[in-house]
């Protein structure tokens, strides 16, 4: 499965290029708009081409990510997918209550995390040792909040709440709570 760090790298590259391009365009526009023009009007055809480009960009982004980011279709279809392992985690009073045994996953396994809250709205995120994010979801009280993930890289992963639950929630970190082995 494509790793989330690879997706983030691709996004960084694409957005950085876009940001530099739009800043250059606006800089050029700001310079040229103060100069004498040639009197040519902008044709409506250019406007409609631009509209078409925007439609294409807006729609194609979601189609491309659906076809290239594996957890996107998996998430939409997760109720029909059988997990290799399921872990149930509860949160109460700004504290994760983890399974009694350490969560150990074999590389390549598909795992379901069922997370519930007894009181507030929290978040549930998995992070690498360099603090980069693998995934996250919201944890709402009154619901079983589940996420399906396939782990393709061995290592230790830290759980932390990704949603603010009051100042008491800043310490909601369970270091190396999940281990993926070869």
């Amino acid at each position: 499965m494509v790793d989330s760090s690879l997706v983030l790298f691709g996004q960084t590259l694409a957005y950085t290029l876009y940001a530099l391009a739009i800043m250059a365009v606006m800089g050029w526009f700001g310079y040229r708009v103060t100069k004498q023009g040639k009197g040519r009007d902008i044709k409506p055809a250019l406007f409609y081409t631009f509209v078409g480009f925007l439609v294409l960009a807006g729609v194609s982004l979601h189609i491309i990510t659906h076809e290239t980011i594996p957890w996107k279709p998996m998430d939409l279809n997760r109720s029909a997918i059988k997990a290799d392992k399921t872990f149930s985690i509860n949160i109460a009073n700004q504290k994760f209550i983890l399974p009694a045994e350490k969560m150990v996953i074999k590389k390549g396994e598909t795992v379901r995390f069922n997370v519930t809250s007894d009181d507030l709205t929290y978040g549930f995120g998995l992070f690498r040792t360099d603090n980069s994010m693998v995934f996250q979801m919201q944890v709402l009280p009154g619901y079983v909040n589940d996420i399906l993930w396939r782990f393709d890289k061995a290592g230790a992963y830290t759980i932390r709440s990704t949603e603010y639950s009051g100042p008491k929630g800043i310490g909601m970190i369970e270091k190396n709570a999940v281990e993926v082995v070869e």
Binding site: V7, Y15, A19, G58, L61, R128, M133, Q136
Partner: protein, 540 residues
Amino acid sequence: MNLIHTFLKGEEGLFRPDSLTPMQKMTLRFVVVGLLYYGLVALEGMIMRTYLVKPVVDLIPPTQYYAILTAHPLVGIFGSTYSIVFGAFLFLVPYLMKKPLWSIKIGNWICGLVGGGTFVFWLSGFITHYAPLYTLYWPLPADFTQFSLWGGIFFITGIALVMVGTVLFVINIFKTITYTPEGMAKQPVGALLGSALGLSGFRNLFSKDKKEHLVSLPVAAIARGTIDTALNSGIILFTGVLILVYMIAAVFGVNLKHSAVDALLYKNWFWWGLDLIADGLVLIFVAGTWYLLATLITGKKLFMENIARAALFVEMVVSWTVWSHHLMSDQAQPGILKVVSGEMVTAFELITQGLAFFITLVTLWSARPLRMTNPLKFLLGGLLGFGLAVPAGIIQADLGLNRILHNTQWIVGPHVHVAVLVGLTMTLYSAVYYLFPVLTNGAKLYSEKLANVHFWCHLLGGIGMGAFMGMAGLQGMLRRTIYFEGEFLPFMILAALAGSLILVGFAAFFFNIVMSVGLNGVIGIFMPSKLKTKDPLPGK
């Protein structure tokens, strides 16, 4: 001595508060209140930026930090932006429609309610550390094991005062559009409303018999954004009452069950309401302001005006149906809502805002050569801000990418802060610089150099801060979290340096404005006008 004289009397003594009409005074009061709250927001923002470099918990405990974080966006949106926007629109609607404001008295009340309400909720948060953040995710605002009950009651009361002011603004705007002033011919209420809401613009798109618009495009934009403002205030008032019910019950020793309110349903309606600001009135008001500024700066007709009118109507409908992009990480939220509302309808914002961007640029282009005045350069800055922030928002409103971006610094950096600080605020500054001589009867700006310092510091600071926050977010840094071990230190140092540029820019602007109108002039704005006229400007 000369400096002190200018500080007291203003540049060349040109600003004379005695010459102002009641309408001008009302508008300038809104602007002063809005700018003072902007200064507070910038200062508190800088405190938080420094805190994210090194959390000095002995000086500012986390409870205080989160109280600041809770008030920060609310003071920014309500205290600052609402004040400036309400003031400008209460002036512009009657000015453009060539008839008096329905009620100047209510206009002044709105200024007091928005300004006073903001002070009440800011102060109660600052003193009692009531800090459920602006999201108010259920049942956090009613968690009295963490937060002060009375602090919460005052906080919600402050928000309610702002919302009452907002409702009065909505009434004043629509009454001004439709009422018949004394001595004028009977106004066609239905036709005016149809034009203001965009129905006549739609008809013109598909009909050969094109009819003249009864209201100008900026007024139509204001009217459409005001619909969202009204709906939003209804949602916030309703939510506030719900929270108050829990608070008042607790005052009497009754602990109501939190589970009586469904957390997901609550999150849906609250985000539906919040998005009417974030994706509704901001984009509509901003597009309308771009159009107005472009036509005022160039003196030319707007490019593709009927399309622009129709796009504003589409944007209003889109803003009613996009809220689900905030719930993409909520697993209980139905998948169909995530895809249709969260992804597809949200993508429409790329189109509607892209159209506004293009139309504004072409209108400016058609009038070459233009002089690079303060309104023009700030308008271009505002356009660039949305040019950067809207695609950033579309990226995070994707189911695949949201899984690794939600609640990271990416959301609040390249999207929120670049949209608000660079896009929205620079658009507002453009309007402020344009309207300054109009509203002050020809007062002169103290220093053009300071205006340039303001522009570059704000632009580079805003984009830089957003960029460094975004880089940290892509590395996994969360928002609403305090990192104690310097995990993202290089990014936070750079973001703080960029943030300090924004503060320097504001200081330059504030000094420039005070030196332009003088301290006596600022005080004079709050004194009653001696002119007995309802006209926006003297002698008109």
